[in-house]
Amino acid sequence: MTPVNHAVEIRDLHKHFGKLEVLKGIDFAVDPGQVVCVIGPSGSGKSTLLRCVNLLEQPTSGRVVLEGVELTDRDVDIDAARRRVGMVFQQFNLFPHMTALQNVMVAQRRVLKRGRAEAEKIARENLEKVGIADKCDAYPLQLSGGQQQRVAIARALAMNPALMLFDEPTSALDPELVGDVLTVMRKLAEEGMTMLVVTHEMAFARDVADRVVFMDGGVIVEDGPAAQVIGEPQHERTKSFLRRVLDPTHTDV
């Protein structure tokens, strides 16, 4: 087994949906402690890439290596590997039949086999960390979108993941609630969590990310420090995308 340098390493990743090729050979890696933001137009394959990292989508070809374990090996224990990767979804996907506390406890109990007291302690710590300790007994439907998403983050964190995946975590939120979630994510980044974030929040990418990856048409167009990719993009496609995103009322139609 190769020495573990990267938290996650992706080599020549392809993904087809029927005849549609969504990912056309992706190579990149995230190092431990790094925060990488993936930006790009919708349909560029960025969410698919993220979902290939924990094999929610089965790649058509290529390798995904997580902490030295190849996930694309057909005989890998994928459930064990997924415990190391937390995922936060655009639509939160909280379990609606459980309270916030139970949402954060259930996988600890069922997957990690933690005892009730321990699981509850860890759940409360994580809910406190995301700022909703007072909503432990609320059901998801009784929470705002921003609160639900923070419970979802706590649910993932309670599993002590080595890597956190965020799939457009603020895209389904009302504008005034976006900040609560981004603040939690920023704190997490500052604590040294390894994060791979698909987002349209350019301010977050610029301020928090160590690296920004711009994807378009199923390939990585540009990959570099945030200041460079967002501040001085090299490629025309990156430039035109950023113009549209940063100045939407002056887009060339």
């Binding site: 929610l56 459930d79 997924r82 979804f89 996907n93 909280l94 379990f95 259930v106 599993m159």
Partner: protein
């Protein structure tokens, strides 16, 4: 400006065409009046035609009604409930099994489930009870466990499970895909995610239609009659039929009918309440 109807309307200032004849409101009033007249005429006709004394004598004779007690509740209703709750319980389990098989990635399981559902959803309940009655002929030495109760429950299980399988499948498919994905991303196996996350939500979704299915099974439990039950095993319909024969009077049938309604109407009400609550909650 007014026309021949008493109703005044804002005068047409050129644009609106001038109405001729009755106003729509007038027409509606007349139509409603006609409907009331027809209704009253029909009721009066029926009241005059029916021989009330004879009707009461045959369908609502207090002495006969009193004879049905206490067995009406302690035996007949009790058995009806045993048959239908038992049938419902096993139909639910079997239905869940077939729903999961129907969605299985193993193709023969899907085939078996589809065949079972199509066959038993398409057969009349009575036919199924007759099949059970003749089962010992087909399989010598075979006996349904639980005797008469077992036979009745088996029949209702078969009748209910095919419908239950389809209802539960709809419920399972109504759980958003993101739920399974969230569970899997937390490291749960497919089976664990199903039992902990998906099935509990699916069951909640199907509670209202399932309540209606229970009402339907409760009514179908009357078919136990065809198994030739007697004595302590009789359910409501058989009980009513026997009593009616004994007294040569239809009162027990009416009494039994009211007893069914005592159970089915509250249940139907409960189902619609649950449905409303769910529409609010989701």
């Amino acid at each position: 400006m007014t026309d021949q109807s008493t109703k005044t309307e804002p005068g047409p200032d050129g644009g609106v065409p001038v109405r001729t004849g009755l106003s729509p409101r007038k027409k509606q009033q007349i139509s409603r009046a006609v409907q009331y007249v027809v209704l009253v005429a029909a009721v009066v006709f029926l009241l005059m035609r029916i021989e009330w004394g004879k009707l009461a004598e045959n369908f609502a004779k207090p002495e006969v009604a009193a004879e049905t007690l206490p067995d009406l509740f302690t035996v007949a209703l009790k058995n009806t409930i045993i048959y239908s709750v038992g049938g419902f319980f096993f139909a639910f389990l079997l239905g869940l099994l077939f729903a999961l098989m129907r969605m299985s990635s193993v193709r023969p399981y899907r085939w078996i489930a589809i065949a079972y559902i199509e066959i038993f959803r398409g057969l009349p309940a009575l036919l199924i009870f007759l099949l059970i009655l003749f089962l010992p002929l087909a399989l010598p030495g075979f006996e349904v466990p639980g005797g008469t109760y077992g036979q009745g429950i088996l029949g209702l299980t078969i009748v209910g499970s095919a419908y239950m399988a389809e209802t539960l499948r709809a419920g399972l498919q109504a759980v958003p895909k993101g739920q399974m994905e969230a569970a899997r991303s937390l490291g749960m196996s497919h089976a664990r995610a199903m039992t902990t996350i998906v099935i509990p939500q699916a069951v909640r979704i199907v509670i209202p239609p399932t309540t209606n299915q229970f009402v339907s099974l409760l009514k179908d439990s009357s078919l136990v009659l065809f198994l030739g039950v007697s004595g302590e095993y009789v359910e409501l319909t058989k009980f009513g039929n026997d009593m009616a024969s004994t007294f040569a009077n239809a009162t027990p049938i009416l009494v039994v009918g009211v007893t069914y309604l005592l159970v089915t109407i509250p249940l139907g009400y409960l189902a619609s309440r649950l449905e409303k609550r769910q529409a609010r909650g989701r």
